[in-house]
């Protein structure tokens, strides 16, 4: 008699949790696909189909054949004069049909040996044509001879990799032109790939997500502790002046925005670039997490403790905390799940202001860097978006588990 409905309830719970999981997965795929599509159509993005290789010596042969085998379309020349001609033709074409060229070319590789002493003129060349929207990798396979100054002027974008590194960099930076859907599938399989410098993005993503996770979870824990202490002391000493001053302080400090608070933090402590305890209260106050927790806890506890079943439980001599705990937990989960996105938004600002390298710092860096590093942008965006969707899923599942009356579908 009692067993039958319990089994049915468990099945219902599992079914609805699976439904939310499926919805979360679908949302993740759709969101990442939308971002991917935007990056596909941007100039220099995945939709572009050609690489221009100018210059290069015998030792690049291996590199080039591997690239061709991998399916890249190459336009290449060995001769210095020919390279120059090619660039000029390229230049004139790009002046005529600016948009078409920039959306077709993914990357320009220029060997410094081919350029020789005319590095500065080449830099001007690249700036005049619309090439500065594209990533340009300069590489050298030997010693660069030429005017030292002009080479130094290029040093800002100068990489000098070995053939293997060069190959890795090229392979990392580009996918050969594909149709949108197959490109998306390829990206999904090879996630997260490599950045422009040829380094793996995975390590970067891992370390920075640990940073952001620490900040978000730390400030959530801190605000939970402070608000619990405040609310419990309010219940114990309802007429106390100190408790009401505490509430007032929390509300007053929460009126300041995270930008203002983090700037003042930097002004007082200087640039630190690593973890500091004071980041947690700044996040908790600047995003209004603390004040929301206190107000929600206060109202919910008042409401729950005045409910009839809790009063009845008290009258029978049972603890009211035990009976009210589950309902309080549900409302706490509601607040937390609605606050985590705002906290992540706050970490973007805080990390940028403190130059503390987390996910937020990386995504601002990736978005504002021009020319765009497509893989890095996509990787960081995916981690943040995926993390937020995962948090949403977990909180939904917990809510269903704790309160079976809510059914999501």
């Amino acid at each position: 008699m009692t067993k039958q409905p319990e089994v049915a309830e468990t099945w219902e719970t599992i079914l609805s949790i699976t439904l939310i999981a499926g919805r979360a997965l679908g949302l993740f795929l759709v969101t990442t696909f939308v971002v991917f599509a935007a990056l596909y159509f941007t100039p220099g993005g995945w939709g572009a189909d050609r690489i221009l290789v100018v210059g290069g010596k015998v030792s690049t042969d291996q590199c080039l054949t591997t690239l061709q085998e991998a399916g890249y379309k190459l336009v290449l020349t060995r001769n210095e004069g020919e390279a120059k001609q090619m660039l000029e033709a390229f230049h004139s074409r790009s002046r005529e049909q600016e948009t078409e060229i920039t959306s077709k070319v993914q990357l320009v590789l220029i060997s410094l040996e081919a350029v020789g002493g005319r590095a500065s003129s080449l830099a001007a060349f690249i700036k005049e044509g619309n090439l500065n929207r594209l990533p340009v990798i300069f590489y050298t396979l030997g010693e660069v001879k030429g005017n030292g100054q002009t080479v130094e002027s290029l040093a800002a974008f100068l990489h000098a990799p070995s053939p293997e590194e060069l190959l890795a960099a090229v392979r990392a930076h580009l996918l050969p032109r594909r149709w949108l859907l197959s490109g998306y599938w390829k990206w999904l399989v090879h996630f997260p790939g490599y950045d422009v410098g040829g380094g793996p993005i995975a390590e970067k993503l891992w370390s920075s997500s640990i940073v952001t996770f620490t900040l978000v979870s730390g400030s959530l824990t801190l605000s939970l502790c402070i608000s619990l202490v405040l609310v419990i002391s309010m219940l114990v000493w309802p007429e106390s002046r100190g408790v009401s001053i505490g509430f007032y302080l929390v509300n007053f400090l929460s009126g300041f925005h995270i930008v203002i608070l983090s700037l003042l933090f930097v002004a007082i402590f200087g640039q630190i670039g690593s973890f500091s305890f004071w980041m947690l209260p700044i996040l908790a106050l600047g995003n209004g997490t603390l004040s929301d927790y206190t107000s929600v806890l206060r109202e919910e506890l008042r409401r729950i403790f005045s409910q009839e079943y809790v009063v009845a439980a008290m009258a029978r001599g049972s603890s009211r905390v035990r009976h009210g705990a589950r309902e309080t937990l549900v409302s706490l989960i509601n607040v937390t799940s609605s606050k985590i996105p705002i906290l992540v938004g706050g970490t973007i600002v805080l990390e940028w202001v403190c130059s503390y390298v987390g996910l937020g710092y990386n995504i601002v860096k990736a978005i504002e860097t021009q020319p765009r590093d497509v893989n890095l942008t996509m990787g960081v965006a995916t981690v943040i978006v995926g993390g937020l969707i995962f948090v949403n899923f977990i909180s939904g599942a917990l809510r269903i588990y704790l309160d079976p009356r809510i059914s999501e579908g």
């Binding site: 949302l27 971002v35 935007a38 990056l39 159509f41 941007t42 100039p43 948009t99 920039t102 959306s103 929207r133 007032y248 509300n251 007053f252 400090l253 929460s254 009126g255 300041f256 925005h257 930008v259 203002i260 700037l263 003042l264 930097v266 002004a267 007082i268 402590f269 200087g270 640039q271 209004g288 004040s291 929301d292 107000s295 609605s338 996105p341 705002i342 992540v344 938004g345 973007i348 600002v349 940028w352 202001v353 995504i363 601002v364 978005i367 504002e368 021009q370 765009r372 942008t377 965006a381 943040i384 978006v385 937020l388 969707i389 949403n392």
Partner: protein
């Protein structure tokens, strides 16, 4: 009403709780500050000494102190701080008005769609709300930079902020829409709407006159004032993250970004000051050396970054307070006091 008040809880973030009514003094302070803000945004023709003129004119002194010619001093680029603040107020007001307008329009339309209509429009709008709740608005704005680049084949300096602010209005619209939806759902049960339907009034008239104008206007006012303050902060943040306006345009966020280096020494001064007072109390170390260090720190100290910070925080507070004032009026009218 209950739903509207539930949403208002977010307004009780700073200051005294809204149960305290606005006194006459408080109201007049609010009015004066609002007048100052809006007035300063309209002032670009007044005399040069008081904030008119060219904000990019370079004067003689770097980090100049307060004088009659420069009431708030000059910054590290030898530009007058007050002039820049006035021009920055213009940018802030323009951008926040734009996003508030978009917010009100989108919020009202979506709210009516999800509350009054049934079938697929309602379901689509509700699904979009659910998705938007998952992501922070700042992240959505950052990602929409990629879309802006896709459409315009590159980044447009200064104009992308206009698009981003309009998008901010759209992304924050669900909040207003949810409130209007709740209001409409509650009103649907009331007899006067039934009577209006029975009398054969058109949907447009019922929505426009009987629902929006007579019942939802207070909510719209409060939320509009609230989002105006938020928009000022968002504009500052975007400019600070190098995604907003650049050199020829003056903005408070840009001022903050430029003056950030001038703020670093504040911490030095404060720390040295603590050390000085501690040693003075304990009489332990050679006070002359510490006093010399403190003076050296004071030489690097610049007070000018305080002004953009104060004006940003102050204007955001201003609109928060305005929203709270509207909210109190609304509750008083409703007889809840």
């Amino acid at each position: 009403m209950k739903l509207a008040l539930k949403g208002m809880r977010t307004l009780e973030m700073g200051g005294v709780s809204s149960a305290i009514k606005h006194s006459g003094v408080r109201r007049s302070v609010l009015a004066i500050c609002l007048g100052l803000f809006i007035g300063s945004a309209l002032l670009s023709t007044i005399p040069e000494a008081w904030g008119g003129g060219n904000p990019h004119h370079r004067y003689n002194e770097r980090w100049g102190s307060i004088s009659f010619a420069h009431p708030l001093g000059t910054d590290m680029n030898r530009k007058d701080v007050l002039t820049q603040l006035v021009f920055g107020a213009q940018t802030s007001l323009l951008m926040s008005t734009l996003s508030t307008f978009v917010f009100l329009l989108a919020g009202t339309v979506l709210g009516v769609l999800s509350g009054y209509c049934s079938g697929w429009p309602r379901n689509v709008v509700l699904a979009v709300f659910q998705v938007l709740q998952i992501f922070p608005i700042l992240l959505l704005l950052l990602l929409s930079m990629i879309f802006i680049e896709m459409f315009f084949l590159g980044r447009m300096t200064n104009w992308n902020l206009v698009i981003l602010m309009a998008l901010f209005g759209v992304f924050s619209a669900p909040k207003l829409a949810e409130m209007i939806r709740g209001k409409i759902l509650a009103l649907k049960e009331r007899t006067f709407i039934e009577a209006a339907v029975a009398l054969g009034l058109s949907h447009r008239r019922i929505i426009g006159k009987h629902i929006i104008r007579s019942e939802c206007l207070p909510i719209i006012l409060v939320q509009g004032a609230y989002i105006m303050g938020q928009a000022i902060m968002v504009e500052t943040t975007l400019t600070f993250l190098k995604l907003g306006v650049e050199y020829p345009v003056v903005s408070w966020g840009l001022m903050l970004r430029k003056m950030q280096d001038g703020m670093i020494s504040w911490g030095m001064v404060i720390q040295q000051g603590f050390r000085y007072s501690w040693c003075w109390l304990r009489q332990t170390e050679d006070l002359n050396i510490i006093a010399r260090d403190w003076n050296m720190g004071l030489a690097d100290f610049h007070f000018q970054p305080l002004f953009p910070i104060m004006s940003i925080a102050g204007s955001a507070w201003l609109f928060l307070e305005l929203a709270r004032y509207f909210n109190d009026r609304l509750r008083l009218q409703d007889g809840r006091g």
